[in-house]
């Protein structure tokens, strides 16, 4: 049968890869220009993040953390995308995106306090341009659009990046944000980490679109699809999107195809919805192993470096969790005072019951 001439975008989009699983550069023109020190720093952050994640899962099992969403497997998307931004750029995360916040400047002990349900966890330090992780899927996508509107009105050349998952890309808020960003040509980066599952729902049941990147088409913004286990592809895509945004060329939707090695949260069981074979195939694409191979070939990294960073990370995590545990408990009075800039009389009265 011949193709209908007025059919819209029925072609698969290509997935950009830069670094192959055996650590070879396969798409030279897209390789980000990083110094040796930057490469080592990138590797440091990824190994650190993996170790922190493993420790956090243990801390969770010991009851020393509260809500926690594992990140292993997504270090390339999380660490890499933040690495590609400037300090002034604004991050609007979903609940799994704590690493971006910490690498953007949120103290680690505050991330732990947030997890433990302590209000101080959300007290974002001055000069750190982030929001706290969003629980309502998709809400933060709108906030990034609004913050980008602010940059545009102030004529500042910064960008707002927001993260959500393949599940999040189905929410109405996601489409509203893309559409606004298109209409106002906003400096927004919509970064979708398509890790194949929304809790247990597989990507195949999430959308009938050929890709999430295709969804940019309807909003009139740029859409790209990249290998999310490839940190160089991530850095390239975010750098390019940021540059376009700073030049007034508008928003980009980046779909990064990735995988979370661990369960959705500490309370689910992957064996109910995933196979061991699938997990095995994805672990061969491990973003950390991939970068390590590349760096080892360049003589910039050794196995001992990995061991050293893991030890450092463990020590830092221990220190920071202790700091979180030693932080004075939040109070109901403090909570009441955080509702309005000036606490109204009726709340002052309610406060008295808790003092």
């Amino acid at each position: 049968m011949s193709k209908i001439p007025y059919e819209v975008y029925t072609e698969e989009v290509e997935t950009l890869s830069v670094l192959s699983p055996d650590g070879e550069i396969v798409n030279k023109e897209y390789a980000p220009k990083l110094t040796d020190d930057q490469l080592k720093e990138l590797m440091y952050r990824m190994v650190f993040t993996r170790t922190w994640d493993e420790r956090a899962i243990n801390l969770g099992r010991q009851g020393r953390l509260g809500f926690y969403a594992p990140v292993s497997g997504q270090e390339a998307t999380m660490v890499g995308s933040e690495f590609a931004l400037d300090k002034e750029d604004f991050i609007c995360p979903g609940y799994r995106d704590m690493p971006q916040l910490v690498w953007h400047g949120l103290p680690l002990y505050q991330a732990f306090l947030y997890s433990r349900g302590h209000q101080h966890g959300g007290e974002i330090p001055e000069g750190v341009n982030v929001l706290m992780p969003q629980i309502i899927i998709g809400a933060q996508v709108l906030h990034a659009m609004g913050i980008a509107m602010g940059y545009k009105l102030k004529k500042q050349k910064h960008v707002a990046i927001t993260y959500t998952g393949d599940g999040g890309s189905s929410e109405g808020d996601f489409y509203e944000a893309l559409n606004y960003a298109g209409v106002y040509k906003l400096p927004t980066i919509f970064f979708v980490q398509n890790n194949g599952y929304a809790i247990t729902t597989p990507f195949s049941k999430q959308t009938a679109a050929l890709s999430i990147a295709h969804k940019a088409v309807a909003a009139g913004i740029r859409g790209v699809k990249i290998d999310g286990m490839d940190v160089f592809a991530v850095i390239h895509a975010v750098q390019e999107a940021a540059e376009r945004a700073r030049n007034g060329e508008g928003a980009t939707l980046i779909e990064a195809v990735t995988y979370r090695f661990r369960p959705h949260s500490l309370s689910d069981d992957t064996s109910k919805y995933r196979t061991k074979e699938e997990e095995g195939q994805w672990s061969e694409k491990d973003p950390i192993a991939r970068l390590a191979k590349y760096l080892e070939k360049k003589g910039l990294w050794t196995e001992e470096d990995t061991v050293r960073v893991k030890e450092e990370a463990k020590a830092k995590v221990n220190e920071e969790i202790k700091k979180a545990e030693k932080t004075e408990k939040m109070t109901v009075a403090g909570l009441i005072d955080s509702m309005f800039e000036t606490t109204p009389k009726h709340l002052e009265e309610q406060k008295a019951d808790f003092q």
Binding site: I124, L131, L142, H143, G150, S338, H346
Partner: protein, 325 residues
């Protein structure tokens, strides 16, 4: 002093603030060129430009989310939701995101947003254009709620709302937009949020109300006066925070009260006000506090809305009931 109707007074408040503070921005569906479906923002785009007053795509959640993002960026957004029944599309952004931004960020970010929306019955509008949804807002911690009943208050309250660093939900009764003109001072002045107004003094019974129902209640009070009953009428002006002090002071004088609201009876603001009266003034009461309200149905089609809405006669009947208790 100029004579203005409620709509013009609200527009004047926005103009004063657009002029005074370059961070004030106005947006919503159709608010730019034509000035909104009720022309409340008419002329403002022409005067202040498309960067300050602009049309948005048709998407209420995004209007709310953009307001939040702009608030974080130091702007003072005034976001119009075209009709009250469409706030459901934006409730996550208004009640969840804006109302808890201060709490979630440990005070780092303000949400100095005014969400404006027309509401209110008696104008034979289409379904979901007139409902009294203030109870939904009032139940949510972290957001203020204003409903003016006259042009003078509307301007002063709007200026206060724009200058407030917390989100304010500002509801404009459709039936009051053009109902009457009153003297409104030029330039800036404020009416403090959280302060009620005794619009009519009396010693026999207190009628506590807000919005359009202030006028219904005043009419009832005028009728009652003819039979020698002196009703005090309190216009709340702000529902969150609620000025319980003014209410209690009045009840100490009258010992009897009713609450009049246009919204459906159950679980609404009248119930809350009565609960607070019980907490603060039960020993001053000679009779239970009664509610005059819409029945617990969906807001009806235009055919019967005049019967559905509380009338002066129903207010009078309730007053007589508490007087004869």
């Amino acid at each position: 002093m100029a004579q203005m109707n409620l709509k013009e007074a609200i527009r004047d408040a926005m103009r004063v603030e657009l002029e005074r503070d370059k961070n004030v921005v106005i947006f919503g569906e159709d608010v730019g060129n034509v000035g909104g479906v009720f022309r409340v923002t008419e002329g403002l785009q022409k005067e202040f430009g498309e960067e300050r007053v602009f049309d948005t795509p048709l998407a209420e959640s995004a209007i709310g989310g953009m307001a939040l993002g702009l608030g974080i960026q130091g702007f003072r957004p005034i976001a119009e939701i075209q009709f009250v029944g469409f706030i459901f599309e934006a409730l996550d952004q208004i009640l969840v995101q804006a109302a808890r931004l201060r709490f979630r960020s440990g005070g780092r970010y303000n949400a100095p947003i005014v969400f404006r929306t027309p509401f209110g019955g008696g104008v034979k509008a289409a379904e979901l254009h007139t409902d009294s949804l203030e109870g939904l807002i009032a139940q949510t911690p972290g957001i203020k709620l204003v409903i003016p009943s006259n042009p003078y208050d509307a301007k002063g309250l709007m200026i206060s709302a724009i200058r407030d660093n917390d989100p304010v939900f500002f509801m404009e009764h459709l039936n009051l937009y053009h109902a009457f003109r009153a003297e409104v001072p030029e330039g800036e002045y404020t009416v403090e949020l959280g302060k009620a107004n005794v619009v009519r003094e009396g010693s026999d019974v207190t009628i506590i109300t807000y919005g359009m129902m202030v006028h219904t209640s005043v009419k009832a009070a005028e009728e009652l006066e003819k039979s020698g009953i002196k009703a005090e009428v309190i216009d709340l002006r702000t529902l969150v925070p609620l000025d319980i002090e003014t209410i209690v002071n009045s009840i100490k004088k009258t010992n009897r009260a009713i609450v009049v609201q246009e919204a459906q009876k159950s679980a609404g603001l009248a119930a809350e006000i009565i609960a607070q009266i019980n907490e603060e003034a039960i020993l001053h009461l000679e009779a239970p506090v009664l509610r005059v309200a819409g029945p617990d149905t969906v807001y009806p089609f235009a055919q019967i809305e005049d019967q559905w809405l509380p009338s002066p006669a129903r207010v009078i009947a309730a007053v007589n009931k508490v007087l004869n208790f």
